[in-house]
């Protein structure tokens, strides 16, 4: 029977844009940390120029990220409650410790790196990689545990977040590489080999990310009623534009094609694409956080 709704009350905003900003910053931090370990842990010498800016940005962004949480919180002066009253079933409770441990590890790792102590830099890097994965993976769990929203409550969410974190981290490192070459070398020569290598890496990571998004959408669309509502919501209206056009088409497919064509290997084009990817990943965070809670549940 057809029923028309005639009265209901509006819902308050829960996780707003500040949580999206927070997820974005931790993602950038984790991504740049993992890139900086490519030389000191995995031994790829061609990534040496990225190691130092990578670790500095990783620590810096993770000091900034909790500020977004404090702005979001209704009672920021009670933030110390998080360290006193611990709830082991809550991902936010795990996060309060991860957010303290991870910057400390990355600062120690950076210290050994700047001292050129390769052995200890490697050890701290090995400790740092799982903590970088944890500090961003837990943000995926924050959404995945909130079972109210069908878009969030998928087991794929932490993985989706990690992959997009690495994408945004690589894109940021491309920009860092251009800035480093243009402003911080005597001959103003940009390390194009490194830039194009990062581009080639991005192609396959974006392919993997698109595959994960595709899996998520297909599983929702063939799933229960709420999942179908999610897909309709993400394909039509404001979030249809933001998701299909801004996030997937402009933010992922166009850069992927540009990086895949050998003739288009130009520094300016790669720089523009890196900026587009960074904006695209922010739109992805916004779509997931704000789009997820935009779907009415009552």
């Amino acid at each position: 029977m057809d029923t028309t709704l005639t009265y209901n009350v509006p819902m308050q905003e829960t996780f707003g844009v500040w949580i999206a900003v927070y997820f974005y910053l931790t993602g950038l931090s984790a991504g740049s940390f993992i890139l900086s370990t490519l030389r000191y842990v995995f031994g790829f010498e061609q990534f040496k120029p990225l190691a130092k800016p990578g670790v500095v940005l990783a620590a810096l962004l993770l000091v900034l990220a909790p500020l977004a949480l404090l702005i979001h919180s209704g009672q920021p002066m009670r933030a110390w409650h998080l360290f006193i009253f611990i709830n082991p079933t809550s991902p936010l409770s795990w996060g309060s410790f991860l957010l303290t441990i991870y910057p400390i590890i990355s600062i120690i790792y950076g210290y050994f790196m700047f001292k050129e102590n390769k052995k200890w830099a490697r050890i701290m890097g090995i400790i740092g990689i799982p903590s970088a994965i944890a500090v961003h993976g837990y943000t995926g769990f924050v959404l995945s545990v909130a079972k109210a929203r069908a878009l969030w409550a998928t087991p794929i969410m932490p993985l989706l977040f990690l992959v997009s974190a690495i994408i945004s981290g690589i894109a940021m490192m491309m920009i860092v590489n251009v800035i480093q070459g243009y402003f911080f070398t005597n001959d103003r020569k940009i390390n194009t080999d490194l830039l194009f290598t990062l581009g080639r890496m991005l192609i396959w990571i974006i392919v993997f990310d698109l595959f994960l998004v595709f899996c998520d959408i297909v599983a929702h669309y063939t799933g229960h009623k709420e999942g179908i509502e999610v897909v309709k919501h993400m394909f039509t209206g404001t979030f249809g534009f933001l998701f299909l056009f801004a996030e997937v088409f402009v933010g992922k497919i166009i850069p992927m094609i540009v990086f895949a064509v050998p003739r288009w290997r130009k520094v300016s084009l790669y720089l523009i694409m890196a900026i587009i990817i960074m904006i695209g990943i922010f739109i992805m965070r916004y779509n997931v956080v704000v789009g997820g809670e935009h779907i009415p549940i009552v």
């Binding site: 709704l5 009265y7 949480l69 919180s73 209704g74 009672q75 009670r78 109210a148 549940i297 009552v298």
Partner: protein, 193 residues
């Protein structure tokens, strides 16, 4: 014996007068533009076979509440008697419970910056009074009581009627029981067009 508070709403008696909504706001000083109980309304069918349907919704005080699972500071508590409350002195206002509640029954107090919710009018229960919505309902459509007490109104309501709950698939075991629930209205979400 341990108490197990629950609420029951007989939708066959509900006339959609919104009294529970207003009384709750007055009793608990609920801020503007948020509600702890409200009556969803809908029109079912087409003329001449048409009727209005009502659905008062409030916190379900789940047996297995998601809000309690996710609260990072244990400010959301499931009491011994089954009532889910927020500790106003401990809540940090992170709104994770609001994001995780499948029923969307929590709100932020803009002045205090903390999350608040229905607590079955705890201050009234302590004086052996029924919650405000129950006491004020003109048709006595809302019943309240202790499910472990065989003589209580709610026990009679749950056993004598064909009752159901909202969003059973969440596995939260909600404790707000409805008789005569029309899922065609319960499934309509969001604001009316």
């Amino acid at each position: 014996m341990k108490k197990r508070y629950a609420i029951g709403i007989d939708l066959r008696k509900c006339i959609g007068c919104h009294t529970c909504e207003m009384v709750c706001k007055l009793e608990n000083k609920v801020p503007i533009s948020v509600w702890r109980i409200w009556v969803k309304e809908g029109i079912k069918g087409k003329y001449p076979l048409v009727r209005k349907v009502f659905l008062p919704v409030l916190c379900n005080h789940c047996e297995n509440p998601t809000c309690v699972t996710v609260c990072p500071v244990k400010a959301s508590i499931k009491r011994e008697d089954g009532i889910v409350i927020v500790d106003p002195h401990r809540c940090i206002g992170c709104r994770y419970c609001m994001a995780a509640c499948p029923y969307g029954m929590r709100h932020v107090n803009p002045l205090l910056g903390i999350v608040q919710k229905c607590d079955f009018c705890l201050h009234r229960l302590e004086n052996n009074e029924e919650p405000a919505c129950v006491a004020s309902c003109p048709t006595k459509a809302i019943v309240f009581g202790d499910l472990n007490d065989k003589n209580s109104n709610i026990y009679k309501f749950v056993t004598e009627n064909n009752v159901t709950v909202l969003k059973e698939s969440t596995g939260n075991h909600p404790q707000a029981y409805y008789a005569g629930l029309d899922f065609s209205l319960a499934d309509k979400k969001g604001m009316p067009e």
